[in-house]
Symmetry: C2
């Protein structure tokens, strides 16, 4: 069968309608979540959560209906797939996977879970604000119990935690992640130790003091514009925990959080979310009305946020170009600071408590802690009540510091309140993917660094669009990385990159 099937064929047409509707409902739910996180009135959350539960349940029903199953039986056969265009083929495969997974969850259980997680995010926010782990633990216990049950229903892969990992990084296993994290640890821990004992410490004094929020906001918007973020297809707001959300490809929103005593927090947070947003804004139009119109995995998604945040935003060339702009936003504040000073100051390595404020190197240690804890929760049935104790001990062991409060410890991240167990490894995967992708970008564009240093960021954006963004979910993570670099994910790129960067900054031997 060689001719591409007519888009008008009845089962395919109906299948596209149904998947389109699922995409549309997900868009609307995305907007409701965005609203809940950016300023929905507190008292309205309870009724709103019920409404979210109802619409999520309907979306779930669509994707698990007998009609959908029948259509997939018709379409998801090798001889039929062979006759489909690329988009339809991937749409069938991807949908079949989701439908199979979703049909294992009883609808009432799913709805109850949605209501729970949409309430628990507010509960988490309150608990974090009040440093009240006890207030949050009833939610956490329920969320963990649900996820344990889901793993059972979906089927335990090699270990229960593998089943969760697979949700965010299709095909990734605990075994492979243990190996990758082992390799990272073997090179990064000694690097951190050499840095700790290096005599040449960067000066960070110029980063101290107060930096007005309005000027921070203005500069953040300026940088987003330079990256090619389209403000007519997105907006920048504030939330407790920064995030990016692609509602549709022409409405990709970013949030950040301004701290007046910290110039870099909102800035790098914004660039990070801006990287996610560039991905979603630049997916090809042909995918716009399908659930394929999103990043192919969380690891690849995080590779884009962390590439822009760290490999561009924390590079020397970038600040050669943009430090003068920053100075005009904060007149008189940074007059005597050179690009080199600034570069060294924003790349200081120091064990710290808060993941999203960690340096590029120790960041990976924050991730490994969460990874180990998640493995304990799902492979060893760790009692969620014991999380603060385990958390604090692991921070003490890995970073030599223990959080004085749970707000600065186990309560710092939003992820678990939304049930996103298995997500955290994506950040370090992202770092690894990013280093490997940047290596290929430099080979493809030998003048890339000069371009960045002259503020010409768009060629990189275009190259990434071509290799990553435009494909959405059409290519799998392994296809993306192998097409770009000719080999699978390899931890050596990140280790090499970090060793080179910090050797220079800390003037190691």
């Amino acid at each position: 069968m060689s001719a591409t099937e007519h888009a008008g064929s009845a089962p395919l047409k109906r299948f596209r309608e149904l998947t389109g509707q699922i995409k549309q409902y997900e868009e609307i739910l995305g907007l409701v979540y965005w609203d809940m996180r950016t300023g929905a009135p507190r008292k309205g959350i309870e009724l709103r959560s019920e409404a979210v539960g109802a619409l999520s349940a309907e979306t779930f029903k669509l994707s698990t209906s007998e009609e959908m199953v029948g259509l997939l039986e018709e379409l998801n056969r090798p001889e039929r797939l062979a006759g489909l265009g690329e988009i339809d083929r991937r749409l069938v495969e991807e949908t079949a996977l989701n439908v199979e997974r979703n049909r294992k969850i009883p609808p009432d259980m799913y709805r109850e879970y949605v209501v729970l997680t949409s309430q628990s995010e507010s509960a988490w926010e309150e608990a974090k604000e009040k440093n009240d782990f006890e207030g949050f633990v009833p939610y956490l216990e329920k969320i963990v119990a649900f996820n344990r049950k889901f793993v059972e229903l979906w089927g335990v892969k090699k270990t229960p935690y593998d089943t969760l990992l697979d949700m965010y990084e299709p095909g990734l296993t605990t075994e492979e992640l243990d190996r990758l994290f082992g390799e990272l640890r073997a090179r990064l821990v000694p690097l951190a130790e050499r840095i700790a004992s290096a005599p040449a410490k960067p000066d960070v004094s110029f980063l101290q003091g107060t930096f007005g929020k309005e000027a921070q906001k203005k500069f953040s918007k300026h940088i987003l514009g330079q990256m090619g973020y389209d403000f007519e297809a997105g907006r920048l707001d504030e939330s407790v925990h920064p995030f990016a959300t692609g509602l549709n490809k022409n409405d990709v929103r970013i949030t950040t959080r301004y701290l007046e005593n910290d110039l870099t927090s909102a800035l790098f947070g914004t660039i990070h979310e801006g990287g996610h947003a560039l991905y979603e804004q630049n997916i090809q139009d042909a995918l716009a009305d399908t659930p394929l119109c999103t990043g192919t995995s969380m690891g690849i998604h995080e590779s884009q946020s962390r590439l822009w945040e760290n490999m561009i935003g924390r590079s020397l060339g970038f600040w050669r170009r943009y430090l003068p702009d920053l100075k005009t936003h904060f007149p008189g504040r940074l007059d005597d600071v050179s690009a080199e000073d600034f570069y060294r100051g924003i790349n200081v390595v120091e064990p710290s408590l808060i993941r999203i404020e960690a340096d590029e190197l120790t960041y990976n240690l924050h991730i490994m802690i969460r990874y180990e804890i998640e493995k304990m929760l799902f492979n060893e049935d760790l009692d969620p009540r014991r999380l603060p104790e385990v958390w604090n001990r692991k921070y003490e062991e890995a970073l030599g510091i223990a959080p004085p409060t749970d707000a600065e410890g186990v309560l710092q991240d939003v992820h678990w309140s939304g049930g996103a167990f298995g997500y955290f490894p994506s950040y370090s995967l992202g770092n690894m993917y990013a280093a490997q992708i940047m290596d290929a970008a430099r080979q493809a564009m030998p003048d890339l660094d000069e371009r960045i240093a002259s503020g010409d960021l768009l060629p990189l954006k275009e190259w990434l669009t071509d290799r990553v963004y435009r494909h959405g979910k059409l290519l799998r993570p392994s296809e993306i990385i192998e097409r770009i670099s000719g080999k699978p994910l390899d931890s050596a790129y990140l280790c090499d990159y970090l060793e080179n960067k910090y050797r220079e900054i800390y003037r190691l031997e």
Copy 2:
């Protein structure tokens, strides 16, 4: 049959579930509209409109399903209704009415209409900004054509326009409205003429100049707080056309629009929307999960916005108490202005072009113009392309001034872009209801005016909650007004009120 039916009876239980789901979907759609009007990125609107179309169609399907019809056949019978509690009984009656109406519209037509109106609001905004009626007219033509078709499908009452009026003010007819508006015209036009020739003109010079937006915002919030608006169950944002929207009773949002060269526009706009919001925030909890949890008619809704805006916000007592607060928000700007000066200045009567900035008296003339045009569109098949010409002529006749641009003329209001034909009369109905309600409130609380003058606004809010707000849609408009004042809607209260107010302000004989 004397015992109240158990809430657990199967058809009733399922009926409550279905109506609850409809309410929840409407809540989510309300949020999407709020977002579109308060800052959704321009490029995302097209895909968002499709998503709105999908969810609206699903909501429509729920309310017109065979299952719903079957449940209503079971429940909407006199002997069955008699056994229901008050809420269930009204819910059945109200739903039956909607279902009957909705089932006359083919679902595909409905969906197409929803997509059209959600796109056309953006088109209207753009057209207004660019003074480009030609750019908007293709949308308008389609919207009018749809509404003419709807009237046909629903069935023409005495005239086609009656069918539309009935949507916003159940039971109201063109005949009755012609009479009421005739009565108003007979007393208000001479009053306006006497005012025009009165020698004692209020001084308005202190209202000129620039009033900073941030201070305006702060003062608006202060007044909302004084009215008893609950900021934990709502929020204040900005939009081109101010509105209030009750997403759920604990999330009732207001928008306003700040003009730095106009102190009163945002202020009275905010109080107006605040009145709508008080209504929605104070509906009884027992209605929260039903479609009865909203105002009983647009006329009664507008009575609350206009009561707070004009009868409180533009009263002398109010400014005796709040002018000092206003002065502290604009230091040095209003030092020499007395409460009497301010009261006279904000109540100046002057023929003007923009409805939402009109004084309390000529406002009704703006409404009558729109009413007459809408009658022409539906009862005389007026071609929408002729709207600017008709509009300008009617302004010339009624107010003696013609808009120099369509932006200040036929494009000024959002209503028609959303297909809300038949809504405008609600504003003048609201004025009439409000005057009649305030008369009763003063009889019930002889010290009401002293309380207002001392900033004690909550007793009025409580009284209105008891008589109007808490009932939601449980009582019909005629029941509300008759319970409050012992008689049906009567235009004399408004005429008396305006004559007394302006006699004093303009020192008429």
